[in-house]
Symmetry: C2
Subunit: 327 residues, 2 copies
């Protein structure tokens, strides 16, 4: 059941309504969508306050604020910036919300609002959003990669989201591409794609080179962010240019692996670091072409940027709820 809309000729159309929630690092967002419209019919955001207790209570209040006055909501979709079990609806942990550890959020939402709720992590849902509403529209086999502080993945295979048995699939940044003597990754392991091709990987490369006495306009005494390095690269700083080129090279090696594994028809890049243009993508393209085992993988393959930006969490949570209701 949903909003009933009376069309011309007295035909009643059941209009599905979804409430989407995006739990971000610094804010909570909620929006309500009807099936016929890309834009939300209601939308609100509040800051997350790590120090304040009862985040769930504040989330309920936020949802009530955007809950449609007329008609019925069919489902709630939730995007979480951390590991979840999408099958049981449990958040394993969330950065910035310490009280949500092994937190059964979908059961609690269903208990409160009386409708089914579904969740997944933000990278999977950004991929799903791009497939349904963004750069991947019309594609059935989509590889989405977010390249920012870390590297995350979202994979759609024959129009279905890859989730895995424990709901932990598509951790694409944490695949080993250098088994011996690779750099340290944020997860504590070595030689992962993320350890080379993320913002953190770029910063590590520059810090190591500066420590080794390499010349650069960057100050070796301070922590240079990926953004600082990108700015220096634009000024022609050789070390900074090389840092992005190295990240692009390994990104090409990682994506070649994913082509061999998934053989998608489109690769979509999201995340801040992926906005670096030729600085990153010249060496990416080179190494992708060099490492792919057969040119057929590249035939008709689209490589492009994400379209949805900040709304990808909300739209992905919406797409997930719609998929689950249909399956």
């Amino acid at each position: 059941m949903a909003q009933n809309v009376e069309m011309a000729y007295g035909i009643i159309v059941l209009m599905r309504t979804i409430v989407s929630i995006d739990i971000g690092g610094t804010q909570l967002r909620a929006a309500a969508y009807t099936q016929d419209q890309r834009e939300a019919i209601a939308h609100k955001r509040v800051k997350t306050k790590a120090s304040e207790p009862d985040t769930f209570g504040r989330l309920v209040k936020l949802i009530e604020d955007i809950w449609p006055k007329a008609g019925k909501v069919d489902a709630i979709g939730v995007s979480i910036p951390g590991p979840v079990d999408p099958h049981s609806g449990i958040i394993m942990l969330t950065p910035n919300i310490k009280e949500w550890r092994d937190f059964p959020i979908t059961a609690k939402l269903t208990g409160h609002f009386g409708v089914p709720a579904f969740l997944d992590n933000d990278a999977n849902l950004a991929g799903l959003a791009e497939w349904k509403f963004g750069a991947g529209r019309g594609h059935h086999d989509v590889l989405y990669l977010t390249v920012s502080t870390g590297v995350g993945g979202g994979v759609i295979i024959k129009d279905r989201l890859l989730q895995g048995y424990h709901g932990l699939a598509a951790e694409l940044g944490h695949t080993t591409i250098q088994a011996e003597n690779g750099p340290l990754c944020g997860c504590g392991q070595y030689g992962h794609l993320e350890s080379y091709s993320s913002g953190t990987g770029i910063e590590r490369f520059v810090a190591e080179q500066l420590r080794a006495g390499r010349e650069s306009v960057l100050n070796p005494e301070k922590k240079n962010s990926a953004h600082d390095i990108s700015e220096a690269a634009k000024q022609g700083d050789a070390l900074s240019i090389e840092a992005y080129q190295v990240a692009g090279k390994y990104l090409g090696i990682g994506v070649a692996n994913f082509l061999h594994v998934f053989d998608p028809s489109i690769v979509i890049f999201g995340g801040g670091v992926s906005q670096s243009g030729p600085l990153l993508f010249d060496t990416f393209n080179e190494s992708l072409k060099e490492r792919v085992i057969h040119p057929r993988y590249l035939e008709g393959l689209v490589i492009t940027r994400a379209e949805l930006g900040d709304d990808s969490g909300l739209l992905g949570a919406r797409a997930l709820a719609e998929l689950k209701l249909d399956s």
Copy 2:
């Protein structure tokens, strides 16, 4: 339509019949299966003769020999030991049958026999066979790896075979796990999983060490096969033992990657090298546990050996045809 079987109480059951073909390196096999029985109702094999022309003519003859006399065949399934396009039904190339290059086998079979035909490569179909009839029964998310001369993969996700946009997915042996200074792979690239953990990889390791003057019971003047090396390992030869241990270690690193990517509930090993027991799997287990980024991937995960042996091609081609008829 299919074999009509009259059951008790006069109920007519439509019994589906599939003809399966397995194109092997040294033989062609064909079998006919009815839906109710695991065993073939007819089965025949002939040697492939690389020197003789008209392999397709001999295949047609073979199929006619096992074609059920009564009732109707619903579909033909084909397993090929090389790259194919399963969407268009074209064999890109087949080892030992040189005339089958860009060969539209399913169109030709349908033209001759008047029923739909479906094909895929032998590793994908061995995985599908294990999921439907073998060690993977009851699992929905299956990772199958064949470890023999090379390393091949077959992946089932939510009860569907992963094929990819061009039909080239699950080339799991050709994923880079050592981007810099990795050994040469059979495909011409470097540092792939196959270059470490296949029979060929084990042979290469031993040959390199012998050339470097390493002591061993193996003769440095001859080409030692993976089987020779396995025999020497059983006699306690330190180099041969190490060769398998190294292969097992990198196999663990590769499988950790595939857990992070697919998050399956079962990993099934086929192929001759995977029969090596603790010689290979002690270091495999060690490195898998060390490289997995979260212990949850291993919760309830089954790691086991393939059950179907030589019949996996025929049974996989049968399972493919059944899946396609149902979809």
